[in-house]
Symmetry: C2
């Protein structure tokens, strides 16, 4: 978990995502890193990220899983191509579908960890699985189908 996060390699013109853009001052600014074959991200919810009192808002959990997984897809695409993340052309992924199972209420106190694995790479589509932990306890799991962003959407 040292060095540059996946998101810190994104070109400036795609670095404004509310979930993971380093240039979005109001956003969550999540950071993802390789940890062997898994990607890991930690996030400390703010007090207002509440669902029922004391527990984390499910939409935040969905957002963490979504952005961490699309970031993981991008990093995996570079790995699969044998390229560093600062080489051209950039790989950037968007979400085609997101599924989250909420396994137990997630406590609002403390720091959450999201771990993700690449399940399948198939052309421009990458399927990523993810789990969200509070300490050692799994609270949610998700699956994201990420697709490489069409060139005409790139700013």
């Amino acid at each position: 978990m040292t060095g540059k996060a996946f998101q810190d390699y994104y070109p400036d013109n795609v670095a404004h995502c509310y979930g993971c853009g380093r240039l979005n001052e109001q956003g969550l600014q999540i950071k993802s890193y390789w940890d062997g074959d898994e990607a890991v991200c930690t996030f400390t919810p703010r007090p207002y990220h509440t669902a029922i009192p004391g527990y984390v808002y499910g939409g935040l959990i969905a957002s963490l899983i979504d952005c961490h997984s699309t970031g993981t897809a991008a990093a995996a695409a570079y790995r699969a191509a044998g390229r560093e993340m600062d080489t051209e052309p950039p790989f950037r992924f968007v979400t085609a579908s997101l599924h989250v199972d909420y396994l137990r209420p997630t406590p609002l106190e403390g720091t959450l960890t999201v771990r993700a694995q690449v399940k399948e790479i198939k052309g421009r589509k990458i399927i990523v699985t993810a789990q969200l932990y509070d300490g050692g306890e799994i609270c949610a799991r998700g699956e994201v189908v990420a697709v490489q962003m069409p060139e005409h959407l790139l700013p």
Copy 2:
């Protein structure tokens, strides 16, 4: 779309949800209403709710579908019981699972509409389907499995 929103009936002690709690000042404060057999919610994203420039952040879309659907589940439970939403005991639902398919990029300008339908009521579990529109164009569709909140979690 007149009268009190579903969320405005929630008791004060469960009205702090980041997505739909009327008492969460930093939150989205979404409002849902019956429109015949469907429930409808409108929301205007803020400029920082961006994914790539010009388009809405997928985590926000997931949040809108999530909260609108759990609110619809609560309202449907009252309807099924033949009760008004201000009667005791309160029905409040949490998300067991959330699925979102992103069908096309959602423009950041303007107001979004989420429509939801009750697909199935089975004991404490209610399945809700939802679609998110930009004007007349569907941009995402979702399905939420909502479960009635266990009493021990109520504050």
